[in-house]
Symmetry: C2
Subunit: 136 residues, 2 copies
């Protein structure tokens, strides 16, 4: 593992810490705040631009009482000033009305800007869990 | 639109032509054939490595009689020798047993190798279509 890979994985970890903390200011620190960054939440349409992406996190955080996130199968790849990570998220969300457990496959893209890796794209998509897959 | 953006969009277009043609040899020409390339089909787990990715296309193509693909909302971004595209796919598949229409959000990553842009990651995830969203 190179130093650059460690640095990218550290930012990826901070992204999931922000998610689990339901903390939009931690999200501010992770994302590149430009009008072309991209975010796809599971089953939802593409959002573009930091303002729209930030608003979506605010909405998710406002509607969630607690969130637990376990990240596994992290694959990182770096080419020049761009890095991308594939990883699996097991997300348990507690709402007012109940809870939800989701298995999610994510692709996260990062750019190196002024010596710091920043998230520029997050694409998360629902996976069928093993128990549900068996029922098919 | 820069020349590089045009070149990346052209490879993206050829990827979807390969898909619609159910032609794995056209896929061979589009992808970088290395053991770390990544592919997530809608609702499925991450596949890594060209052999595994190619096998998945062969499986999909063997089980599909015809496929029609309409691509829209293409956003392209290039940084150095890496490019990524966000786009929406409307995929109509005809099987032995019937047909399926799916709206899909995709993130495609490309690398410039020896002057040619090659696909290195494809992440496709199901979107709720407008009609189904209304029913929620």
């Amino acid at each position: 593992v190179t130093e650059a890979e460690q640095a990218v994985c550290e930012v990826n970890r901070r992204f999931y810490e922000a998610l689990a903390a339901l903390d939009v200011e931690q999200m501010d620190a992770v994302w590149l705040q430009e009008d072309w960054v991209e975010c796809v939440h599971p089953g939802r349409e593409l959002l573009t631009g930091w303002l729209e992406v930030r608003k979506s996190w605010e909405g998710i955080f406002a509607n969630t009482r607690r969130m637990q996130v376990e990240v596994s199968s992290v694959l990182v790849r770096i080419e020049g000033t761009v890095a991308w990570i594939a990883c699996t998220e097991r997300v348990t969300s507690l709402f007012e009305s109940g809870f939800d457990e989701a298995l999610v496959q994510a692709t996260n893209v990062f750019l190196l800007r002024d010596g710091v890796w920043k998230m520029v794209a997050h694409h998360a998509s629902p996976l069928l869990g093993p128990s549900r897959a068996v029922l098919q």
